[in-house]
């Protein structure tokens, strides 16, 4: 009868204990888990355990830079010296040749401008055509065909003013097909104010007399992403055709202009697509070279000459093939890693967090200050506690009460006066300010006195008779006997010093005097609200104290019991 009840009771105890334990260490586990994640994983909902940082490959999202402007090197990616050089020679920087394809890796620039592309592993770049297979390009470009199609579209005269202007400016490139193609697409689709920019083109169309009655059919084209696609333009052309048949003669002219705009584009686009005769047989594979922005070609599909990265862009130089054939392609990017690279990825957040703030200095300061404080504390507190416990002198107990009473004064109350006193010593921004005021702790003195009290006075008397001085007795007998309490005291003061925040914030000015908590707080402000690096930083600030605690916890716990707070 009694036994099962007891079992049930223990079952409830364990359920309660497990719930409490999850409450206690769950957040810490979550912290460590987060610290290994990538930015994208941190910012995903619902949250997941695990990270692709431990995976041997990953997909990156990327897009091909399609505008003319993107073909010039961005001055902001230059170093200061290089920029000044280009300023003094008055030359614009053109990093890339006309045969360079630029691929913009999305989300590769880290947060708050400090991150870069994942610069390790092998990149596998798949250029995809519109049909879903690999992209095609032209190996035997037909100049006569080009000339005839250019002649054909140049002869169309009823065009909107915009397009007529474009056609006029394009005529300067008729001898250079590549430039022509590039500028053509720049002006019509991808450039700064392209003709087929969705909202503008549709709005202009609706402003044409006689088109308002087609509003219901045309307006839906306003919604969508990017410029109007070829299929959409064909559809629009159909609508315009039917509009043309019902329009009054005066409106006809205007509608025809738009229709011709579309036709010119479609005509040329068809020519461009028809020229592609060779398909890529697989992905282009490039490998990162450490400390260099050049990429090693693993598999160039026999068209890649060289490749390099700059900022969050990858530049690929082709030989014998123009990059314009890939203008309309989609790109998908996969990175592959070997074991060591996976390891490097896995600890990436730790490395970048460590490097993005002077954590080395903070660490040294924290360790130095905490160890010095602890050592002084042990010496001073043991001495005082021993005097309170085993020595006799007038006013002993009164002084003891006076010391214990300081436990009730929060140090923040004394902050102002302490600051002024330390300032008058000239200790602001020195280690003294962080160590000396904390080198005696009332609570530890209290614990130690309790422990010394439990050592029989006879032992002390016997030692005295043997001729041992009180000093010798203290360090050779009393302290070893109360080791757990001494270790407890040491751990408490070490913890207190290691975790001290407000004091350090106020008593120090500069980075080279600050300790981990203040350094961590600065890092929080600097790095913003994406949490993987922050959690990595939080984790490595905890490691020494956690290790110390695990190592000493046996003493620590028994120290608490021995102290006999009753």
């Amino acid at each position: 009868m009694k036994k099962p009840r007891k079992k049930l009771l223990y079952f409830f105890y364990y359920v309660a204990a497990v719930i409490l334990a999850i409450f206690a260490i769950g957040p810490l586990v979550w912290m460590v888990d987060t610290s290994f994640k990538t930015n994208a994983e941190v910012l995903s909902y619902p949250p997941k355990w695990g990270t692709i940082n431990a995976m041997p490959s990953r997909t990156l999202s990327a897009e091909i830079v399609k505008t003319r402007a993107g073909q010039n090197a961005n001055p902001s990616s230059l170093s200061l010296e290089a920029l000044l050089g280009s300023l003094s020679t008055n030359q614009q920087t053109s990093l890339s040749s006309p045969d360079t394809l630029a691929i913009h890796v999305l989300g590769a620039s880290g947060y708050r401008g400090t991150g870069t592309m994942p610069r390790r592993g092998i990149l596998s770049i798949e250029l995809m055509g519109e049909d879903g297979g690999f992209a095609s390009y032209s190996t035997n470009f037909s100049t006569p065909d080009f000339n005839s199609v250019v002649a054909k579209i140049s002869s169309v005269s009823t065009l909107t003013d915009d397009v007529r202007g474009i056609m006029n400016s394009l005529s300067q490139y008729t001898s250079d097909p590549q430039e022509y193609i590039l500028n053509f697409y720049d002006d019509f689709l991808y450039g700064n104010n392209p003709v087929f920019a969705r909202i503008n083109f549709i709005s202009n169309l609706l402003n044409v007399n006689g088109m308002m009655k087609f509003q219901d059919e045309i307006s839906p084209f306003k919604k969508g992403v990017g410029p109007l696609s070829a299929a959409e333009l064909k559809e629009l052309a159909g609508i315009l055709q039917s509009a043309l048949s019902t329009a009054s003669p005066s409106d006809k002219m205007e509608i025809e202009k738009y229709l011709n705009d579309i036709d010119v584009y479609l005509e040329f686009n068809e020519f461009y697509q028809s020229q592609k005769n060779k398909k890529l047989s697989g992905p282009i594979k490039l490998a990162f070279i450490p400390n260099s922005n050049q990429l090693k070609i693993i598999d160039g599909q026999s068209i890649v000459e060289s490749a390099y990265t700059s900022g969050d862009q990858i530049y690929i130089n082709f030989k014998n093939v123009s990059f314009v054939w890939f203008l309309n392609s989609d790109v998908s990017l996969t990175a592959h890693y070997n074991f060591w690279e996976v390891l490097a990825n896995f600890f990436d957040n730790y490395v970048s967090a460590w490097n993005s703030a002077p954590f080395g200095i903070y660490y040294f300061n924290s360790i130095f200050v905490a160890v010095a404080t602890t050592v002084l504390n042990i010496i001073f507190d043991v001495m005082m506690a021993f005097a309170f416990s085993k020595l006799t002198f007038p006013g002993r107990d009164k002084i003891f009460i006076g010391v214990i009473a300081t436990m009730m004064i929060p140090y923040q109350v004394l902050l102002v006066a302490d600051y002024l006193i330390i300032h008058s010593f000239g200790w602001i921004n020195t280690y003294y300010a962080l160590i000396i005021p904390w080198s005696a702790t009332a609570f530890v003195i209290f614990l130690m006195r309790q422990s010394f009290n439990s050592i029989p006075n006879d032992l002390y008397d016997a030692a005295k008779i043997d001729g041992a001085s009180s000093w010798r007795f203290l360090w050779t007998i009393a302290v070893p006997l109360s080791m757990p309490v001494v270790i407890t005291g040491a751990l408490l003061t070490f913890l207190g010093s290691w975790n001290s925040f407000l004091w350090v914030l106020i008593m120090t000015d500069t980075t080279n005097m600050r300790t981990l908590p203040v350094g961590l707080q600065n890092f929080i402000i600097d790095s913003g609200a994406i949490f993987n690096q922050l959690m990595a930083a939080a984790t490595f600030t905890m490691i020494p104290v956690v290790v110390a605690f695990l190592f000493f916890q046996k003493y620590f716990v028994s120290g608490f019991f021995r102290s006999g707070i009753k």
Binding site: L391, V413, V416, A417, A440, M535, F561
Partner: protein
């Protein structure tokens, strides 16, 4: 001669630690007090004696709808009403248990009180006679009942009854009260606001911390296996620095990606905007503080539990007491010194709340409306950002005063029940 030499040795042992205490605790305590009477905006060297005006500035009332005296009057009447009725109720309970000599006043006083209740509570305002009358009745009832044991041994129950009756009285009467006035003042006076916020935090934080850490202590004692594991697990949060754990909770409290809102979504609870709501500021900070400290206090409770003699339990088991009875009649009373110690320490600790707010709210005192402005935050701001050393010292002394008063009340109320041996 030898004795004198021993004395000198004794003092020599004290010197290093004592010098530090004098330099960085006693002297600053005196110096702060001194500074709190000076205006130091220009620089500390050119401080101007301003008397009590720093304190006056801290408690400036601004525009208020009625005078503090009036609010005090109303509050006091409500309090004495609640007190008299509570005493009467408890007196009747005690009467039911044993015959009391004070039966007659116990009957008279509440009847007398009730006759006056309604009219005075709803109409009264500045009527000195009724005011005095209420105080006299209050004293009388206290005097007649002070020998009663029952309500003294059920402090919490008594306090709850006081609070309940106070609220009832509040809803009967006019909306004039010290509590409301305090809140009105807090709208224009950030120091009063900081007192309010700090108390709010303490009221949430301390009882919950004590309840959870007591549970942790009991579990650590009673579990047959894996004791060490649970001990380490419970204590782990305390080891980490407050900045690091505040950062961790900043992440957990995140509105969009935080794991807390995700866990709540399992139970169909919509996401809570933990960090961007003035009313949730202090509860949020309290959750974090409870998590951080419960293992530490749990360990202290455990050490107390270990020191309770096993014989009591064995005896109780023979008597056939169940585990709940054993807790109520053995553990709780014998643990009271530790409980007292933990209450005092956690109270002092809770009044110092600062770093959590500083990290969670991006160095701001809460998301808006100063909802996270605690007293230490106020001191920090006045001292560090505004360099008003005198004002900051005065605020610090108010904080010290509050802590001292609360600790003294603790000492007085538990004196008789706790054997605190130093």
């Amino acid at each position: 001669m030898n004795k004198k030499r021993n004395y000198v040795i004794g003092y020599l042992y004290l010197i290093p630690a004592l010098v530090i205490f004098i330099l960085f605790t006693y002297w600053p305590a005196i110096y702060s007090f001194y500074l709190s009477f000076f205006n130091t905006t220009t620089s500390v060297g050119h401080a101007i004696f301003v008397g009590l005006s720093n304190y006056a500035y801290l408690f400036r009332t601004g525009e208020i709808p009625y005078s503090p005296y009036m609010a005090f009057e109303y509050s006091l009447i409500r309090f004495s009403f609640a007190f008299i009725i509570s005493v009467a109720i408890f007196g009747w309970i005690e009467k039911g248990r044993k015959i009391s000599k004070n039966l007659i006043p116990l009957l008279i006083v509440p009847i007398f009180a009730l006759i006056f209740v309604y009219p005075s509570l709803s109409v009264l305002g500045g009527n000195v006679y009724i005011f005095i009358l209420w105080i006299i009745i209050g004293f009388l009832s206290y005097f007649f009942t002070r020998k009663m044991e029952f309500y003294k041994s059920h402090t919490i129950l008594f306090l709850l009854s006081l609070l309940g009756l106070y609220i009832v009285a509040f809803y009967i009467g006019k909306r004039i009260d010290l509590y409301l006035l305090f809140f009105d003042i807090a709208q224009n006076n950030s120091f009063v606001m900081s007192i309010w916020n700090t108390f709010y935090f303490v009221i949430i934080d301390v009882p919950l911390t004590i309840a959870i850490s007591l549970a942790a202590g009991l579990l650590m004692k009673n579990l047959p296996f894996f004791k060490a594991f649970f001990r380490t697990a419970f204590f782990a949060p305390y080891v980490a620095s407050i900045v690091a754990v505040s950062l961790l909770w900043l992440w957990m409290f995140n509105y969009h990606y935080g794991i807390l809102n995700y866990i709540l979504s399992w139970f169909g609870i919509p996401p809570i905007n933990w960090l961007n709501s003035a009313s949730l500021t202090m509860p949020t900070v309290a959750i974090l503080s409870i998590w951080e400290y419960f293992g530490y206090y749990g360990l202290i409770f455990l050490s107390g539990l270990q020191n309770i003699d096993q014989e009591y339990y064995e005896a109780a088991e023979i008597e056939g007491a169940n585990s709940f009875q054993r807790f109520v009649y053995i553990t709780w009373p014998l643990l009271s010194p530790i409980t007292f110690f933990v209450i005092v320490v956690s109270l002092i600790n809770a009044f110092q709340v600062f770093t959590q707010v500083y990290v969670l709210y991006n160095q701001m005192p809460g998301p808006y409306a100063n909802s996270g402005l605690t007293m230490v935050f106020y001191i920090y701001n006045t001292f560090y950002n505004e360099q008003q050393m005198g004002l900051a010292s005065a605020a610090a002394y108010v904080l010290l005063g509050i802590i001292m008063v609360l600790t003294l009340i603790q000492f007085r109320t538990t004196e008789k029940r706790v054997e605190y041996n130093i």
